[in-house]
C-alpha cells in the first residue's frame, strides 16, 4: 500500500553525500553522452552476482524439497525421486532440477515466523521484520550499493527484478531500487527517444534539464531531489548503452530459448543469466501463483512445478557450463512455506514455522541437505535456521563484510547481518 504512505526517507545526509559520487550525479548533463564508453564486460572479473528465484505467494515446500511420503495425514500424493546429489531426494515433478542437485543445497529447517504475505516478503528480502522507525533496504539493493556501485562506468542497473517489483532500497534511496522488467518476453517500454529527437536535440534537452535539476537540488538538498537526478542519469546511460540489447531475448538461439521455456519465468531466468554475465550484481526472477489455499496439488503438478523445473534447471546448467556458477549465488525462496496439514479444499495454508529454502552456486559446498523437519513436517527436528542465518550466508558468499553497518535516517546504526545471524558453516569448504 504505497499511496499515502510516508516517505521512505534517505540515508543520513553525510553518508548520503559521500555516496553521491558513485551515482550518475557527478556527471554533468552535457556529458551524459560523451561518457558512455561501455566496458561492462571488463568489470565482470571477480565480480560476484546473486540470482534470487522468488516464489511469490508462499511455495509448498513439502511437495517440492521436503517430501513426507511416510506421513499419512500430511504427505500428499507426490513421490520423492533420487537426484544427482547422493542421498538427496526431491519431488517427482522436478525431474530436470533433480539432475542439477549437485550444484544446489536444500535448507530444510527454516523458521521465519511471519505468515502474512507482505510481512513475509519484507522479512525474506531484508532480513528484518517491518519496523515503524525505519524502512530497511532489500538485500539486493544492499548488494547493489556495496558491490555494484564499485563498478566504474557500468551501464546497466545493478539491481534488476523480473516479473515483479521486488522490494525497494529503503533508506539507500531510489537509485538502488530494483529496475523492474515487467515482461521479459517484451521489449523494455520507451527505451528509444521519438524519431524526431536526434542526439543533438537530446543533448540540448539534457543540458536544460541538468540546469533545472541542479538548481532544485541546491535549494533543497534532500534525497528525493538528488535521487531524481541519479535515476535519470542511470536511465540515460541505459538508453545509450550497447548493452541495452541484453533485455532482448530474441538474440538468443531458439534451442536456448526452448531449454529455459518461453513462459515468463523461463524467459526471466534466461535474462538473469544474460545480466549476471554482463556484471549485474543482483537479479530476482519471480514466479507467482503459489498461494495455493485450494487445489494445491493440481496447481503444482500441472502448472507451477513444470515451469519452475524447466527454468531453474536450465539456469543452473547454463551458468555451470559458462563457468559462471562459482561467482553466482542462487537462492530459491518465497515469503513462507505452506502448512503440513492439507485443508478441506485440497490446499495448504501459510506456514512460516518449518520450511525449506534452496541455495546453490556461489562457490558453496553444494549437493547437501541441511536441517530437517519431523516425520509429519510440523517441527524442526534438526539444526534450526533463522532468516538472519540465511542473510549472513548470502552476505558472506557475496564477499560483503558481515560487520557492514549503515546509519539510518534517524541516526541509528543498522547492520546488514544482525547480531543473531551466523553463516551456515556446512556450506563453506
Amino acid at each position: 500500500m504505497s499511496p499515502f504512505s510516508p516517505l521512505s526517507g534517505g540515508l543520513g545526509r553525510r553518508h548520503f553525500m559521500r555516496h553521491m559520487a558513485a551515482t550518475a550525479l557527478g556527471i554533468p548533463a552535457f556529458r551524459f553522452f560523451s561518457d558512455l564508453r561501455a566496458n561492462a564486460a571488463q568489470a565482470r572479473k571477480n565480480h560476484r552476482s546473486c540470482i534470487v528465484l522468488w516464489m511469490s505467494g508462499g511455495p509448498s515446500h513439502l511437495d517440492i524439497w521436503d517430501l513426507k511420503p511416510d506421513s499419512e495425514k500430511n504427505g500428499g500424493p507426490f513421490r520423492p525421486i533420487a537426484t544427482s546429489a547422493p542421498g538427496v531426494m526431491i519431488s517427482e515433478h522436478m525431474p530436470k532440477t533433480a539432475q542439477q542437485m549437485h550444484h544446489l543445497s536444500v535448507l530444510r529447517s527454516l523458521d521465519s515466523k511471519e505468515g502474512n504475505h507482505e510481512r513475509g516478503t519484507y522479512l525474506m528480502h531484508t532480513g528484518y521484520v517491518p519496523n515503524p522507525t525505519v524502512v530497511h533496504p532489500g538485500w539486493g539493493s544492499t548488494c547493489a550499493f556495496e558491490l555494484g556501485s564499485q563498478l566504474d562506468n557500468f551501464d546497466l542497473p545493478h539491481c534488476v527484478s523480473i516479473n515483479s517489483p521486488g522490494v525497494g532500497a529503503g533508506f539507500l534511496g531510489m537509485s538502488y531500487t530494483p529496475f523492474m522488467v515487467q515482461n521479459p518476453n517484451a521489449p523494455i517500454a520507451n527505451l528509444q527517444p521519438p524519431g524526431d529527437v536526434d542526439a543533438l536535440r537530446m543533448n540540448r534537452r539534457l543540458q536544460m534539464l541538468g540546469q533545472l535539476e541542479d538548481q532544485f537540488i541546491a535549494q533543497r538538498r534532500t534525497p528525493p531531489a538528488v535521487d531524481h537526478k541519479a535515476v535519470y542519469g542511470k536511465t540515460i546511460r541505459m538508453m545509450n548503452s550497447k548493452y541495452k540489447e541484453i533485455f532482448n531475448l530474441k538474440t538468443e538461439s531458439e534451442a536456448v530459448r526452448e531449454a529455459y521455456g518461453k513462459h515468463s519465468f523461463g524467459s526471466g531466468c534466461l535474462m538473469a543469466r544474460r545480466l549476471v554475465e554482463q556484471g549485474v550484481t543482483y537479479v530476482e526472477v519471480s514466479l507467482g501463483g503459489w498461494d495455493t489455499h485450494a487445489d494445491n496439488f493440481e496447481a503444482l503438478s500441472t502448472r507451477l512445478l513444470p515451469e519452475l523445473d524447466q527454468g531453474m534447471s536450465a539456469l543452473v546448467a547454463d551458468l555451470a557450463s559458462r563457468g559462471l556458477l562459482d561467482t553466482t549465488l542462487i537462492v530459491w525462496m518465497g515469503e513462507f512455506g505452506r502448512t503440513p496439514r492439507i485443508n478441506q479444499n485440497a490446499g495448504r495454508d501459510h506456514w512460516p514455522r518449518s520450511w525449506s529454502v534452496v541455495v546453490g552456486g556461489g562457490g558453496l559446498k553444494n549437493g547437501q541437505v541441511i536441517g530437517a523437519t519431523d516425520k509429519d513436517g510440523v517441527d524442526v527436528a534438526d539444526r534450526p535456521i533463522g532468516v538472519m542465518d540465511l542473510i549472513a550466508t548470502m552476505t558472506k558468499t557475496m564477499g560483503i563484510g558481515l560487520d557492514t553497518q549503515y546509519t539510518t535516517p534517524r541516526g541509528r546504526p543498522l547492520k546488514v547481518v544482525d547480531d543473531g545471524g551466523k553463516p551456515i558453516e556446512e556450506l563453506f569448504g
Partner: protein, 553 residues
C-alpha cells in the same frame, strides 16, 4: 486563542457552493472573492495569520526540540502544493497567474476555500479513497470500481461527516452498481474475509492486526484472538450474482447483490502450536457480541467503528490526512498507531484528533486546519550549507520544513494533462484514459491479501516514460490546437514574443515565472537556434521532466 466546536459552522457550510465550483475555474478571481468572504467572516476559519489552534502547540514542540520555527513558503510553493494536495493536480496558467498577481493579504485562506469548493476536490479524494479501499487493479466483475468511486465522490460533494461515510462503507448492502459502497466489502471477502479484516482495521482504526493472523504481535499487545475476533464480525454475509436480460433479450450477468443475515458462525484459525482456535465477534476494546443474538454483525461492527465519541477513527483519519498534506504522519506507517509506535509532536496529534471528532468528523474543516497551520505553510527550501549534519533528518521530523514528495501516478497524469491543455478552458479529467495509462505501471501480486504495487515512483521505467513515452510526445506536439502552437500564436504581436513564450512554459509546467537567469538562458537558445518550435519543445520537455515538476514541494 483556542478554537472549539467547529461543528455548527461545519454543518452550516455543508453543500453550499457545489454549483459555484463549476463556474469558478474560469473566473478565479471572482470565485476567490465569492467563496472566501464567508470564510473570512467566520472567526473559526483560523487563517494563516496565526489564529490556527495547532500553531501554539507546534511552536512549543519546536522550542522544546531547539529547532527554529519554519520560514514560510513562497506564494509559488504554496500555490502548487495546495492544488496538488487538495484537488490532485497543478494549477493551469490562468489559475497560477490569478493567485500570484492578487495582493490580498488572506489570499491563501481564500485559495484553500476555492479549492475545497472546486469540482475536482471530491474527485481527488474519491480517487484517493478508491485506491485505499480496493486498490488500483481490476478486481473482477463483483467489484464495480467506478461505482465505488462515484459513491465516494458524492459523499465528498455532500460534505458528509467522515464517521457516517465509514459506517456506510462497513455496513453497505444491495447492488454493487447502485450502492457503490458495497464494493468495499465485496472486494475483500475471500479467504474467510481475512483481507477485509486487516483493511478495515488499518484504514478506519489505524491498527495493523494483519500479522496477528498467525501469531501474537511482536511489538504491541495485539493477540491472534484479537484478529479473529474482529474477523468474526464478517460472518453471515451473502453474495449473489444477479442475471438480467440485455438489449437482445439474452440473459447474462447484471450485477452482484450483497446482504446479511443473523448467524451463529464463528471464525476458526490455526494456532502456532498446531491447535485450532475459535473466535466469536469481539471488538478491539474487548467488547463481545452476545452469542445467539439476532443482530447483523456488520451493523454492530459499523456502530462501534463509527462511534461519534470513539478515539480510533478520528485518530486514524487525522494522522492519514496530516500525512497526506505533510508527507508523513505523526505516526508512521500511518496505519500503525499504538503505544509501541510513539508519535511525533503528540500534543498536536491529540489536539487535531480531538477537534476533528468534536467538529462532527468534518473533513473540510480538518483540511482547513492542517493547511492553515505553520507546518503546512513552511517552505521546503533549506537555508544554510550545513546540510551534512547528521541531526538534520531528525529535525525535519518535527514538520518545520516541508518534505519533498513524489506525485502519485494519478497526480502526474492529471498534472501533465493540465500543463498541456491550459489553452482549452473546458478540458476536464479523463479518468478512463488515466486508469488505462496507469495499469501499465501496476503490479498485482495475486495472493490472498490482494497486495499490489506500482512500478512507478521514481524508478527507471518512470523516467523512460517521462522522457520518451507517448504522453510526452503528445504533450510536446507543436501541431495546430496543441498547447505549444497556442503559446506561439498568442505571442505574435506581443512586445517581446520570446519572453512571453518562455514565461508561459514556466508557468504551465512549474507554476512560476522563470528567474532572470533562466529567462536569459532560454532566450539565448531561441536567438541562436533556427527552429524555435524545436527549442520550445526541448525546454518544455526539460521542465516537465525536472525534479521540480514531479516532486511536491
Amino acid at each position: 486563542m483556542r478554537v472549539r466546536r467547529g461543528r455548527m459552522w461545519g454543518r452550516g457550510i455543508r453543500g453550499s457552493s457545489v454549483a459555484a465550483a463549476g463556474r469558478a475555474a474560469l473566473v478565479l478571481a471572482l470565485a476567490l472573492g465569492a467563496t472566501a468572504s464567508r470564510a473570512a467572516d467566520d472567526p473559526k476559519t483560523a487563517s494563516s495569520s496565526g489564529a490556527n489552534f495547532l500553531d501554539p502547540l507546534l511552536e512549543q514542540a519546536w522550542e522544546e526540540a531547539g529547532v527554529k520555527p519554519p520560514r514560510p513558503a513562497s506564494d509559488e510553493e504554496f500555490l502548487r502544493r495546495a492544488y496538488l494536495d487538495i484537488i490532485g493536480r497543478i494549477p493551469n496558467v490562468q489559475e497560477a497567474q490569478a493567485f500570484l498577481t492578487t495582493r490580498e493579504a488572506d489570499k491563501r485562506t481564500k485559495l484553500v476555500e476555492y479549492l475545497l469548493n472546486h469540482v475536482d476536490y471530491p474527485k481527488n479524494f474519491a480517487t484517493i479513497w478508491t485506491n485505499l479501499l480496493v486498490g488500483r487493479g481490476d478486481q473482477g466483475r463483483n467489484v464495480d470500481r467506478r461505482a465505488l468511486s462515484d459513491w465516494l465522490r458524492k459523499q465528498f460533494v455532500a460534505d458528509r461527516p467522515w464517521n457516517e461515510v465509514v459506517y456506510d462503507l462497513v455496513t453497505a448492502t444491495g447492488s454493487n452498481r447502485e450502492n457503490g459502497a458495497v464494493n468495499y466489502t465485496l472486494a475483500h471477502l475471500e479467504s474467510e474475509a481475512v483481507p477485509l479484516t486487516s483493511r478495515t482495521t488499518r484504514l478506519f482504526l489505524g491498527q495493523q492486526l494483519q500479522c496477528t493472523q498467525c501469531h501474537d504481535h511482536p511489538q504491541n499487545d495485539w493477540k491472534q484472538s484479537d484478529f479473529w475476533g474482529m474477523n468474526a464480525f464478517f460472518r453471515g454475509i451473502k453474495v449473489e450474482e444477479k442475471r438480467a436480460a440485455d438489449a437482445t433479450g439474452l440473459e447474462r450477468y447484471d450485477h452482484t447483490e450483497l446482504s446479511d443475515q443473523p448467524t451463529d458462525d464463528f471464525a476458526r484459525f490455526d494456532k502456532r502450536n498446531g491447535m485450532v482456535g475459535v473466535a466469536f465477534p469481539r471488538f478491539l476494546d474487548g467488547e463481545k457480541l452476545s452469542p445467539g443474538s439476532k443482530l447483523i454483525r456488520r451493523v454492530e461492527l459499523g456502530k462501534r467503528i463509527a462511534d461519534p465519541d470513539g478515539d480510533l477513527l478520528p485518530r486514524a483519519m487525522a494522522n492519514r490526512m496530516w500525512a497526506h498534506f505533510m508527507g508523513r504522519g505523526f505516526v508512521n506507517p500511518v496505519d500503525d498507531i499504538g503505544p509501541h509506535n510513539s508519535p511525533i509532536a503528540p500534543e498536536v496529534f491529540d489536539k487535531l484528533t480531538e477537534e476533528f471528532r468534536d467538529s462532527g468528523f468534518d473533513v473540510k474543516q480538518l483540511i482547513r486546519w492542517i493547511t492553515s497551520s505553520k507546518a503546512y505553510q513552511a517552505t521546503s527550501l533549506r537555508v544554510s550549507k550545513r546540510g551534512d549534519s547528521p541531526g538534520d533528518q531528525e529535525e525535519d521530523d518535527l514538520f518545520n520544513i516541508m518534505a519533498l514528495r513524489p506525485m502519485t501516478p494519478e497526480q502526474l497524469f492529471d498534472s501533465l494533462m493540465t500543463a498541456t491543455s491550459s489553452h482549452r478552458p473546458g478540458a476536464t479529467r479523463d479518468e478512463g484514459r488515466r486508469d488505462n495509462w496507469m495499469r501499465q505501471f501496476l503490479f498485482v501480486f495475486g495472493n490472498d491479501e490482494e497486495d499490489e504495487a506500482t512500478n512507478f515512483q521514481g524508478t527507471i521505467p518512470q523516467s523512460l516514460m517521462m522522457m520518451n513515452g507517448e504522453m510526452m510526445k503528445e504533450a510536446l506536439s507543436g501541431k495546430p490546437d496543441s498547447f505549444l502552437a497556442d503559446v506561439v500564436d498568442r505571442a505574435r504581436g506581443a512586445r517581446s514574443p520570446a519572453v512571453q513564450m518562455v514565461d508561459q512554459l514556466y508557468l504551465a509546467a512549474l507554476s512560476r515565472l522563470p528567474s532572470a537567469r533562466e529567462r536569459q538562458t532560454a532566450l539565448r537558445y531561441l536567438q541562436t537556434q533556427p527552429d524555435s518550435m524545436g527549442v520550445l519543445q526541448d525546454l518544455f520537455w526539460a521542465l516537465l521532466n525536472s525534479n521540480e515538476f514531479i516532486l511536491i514541494h
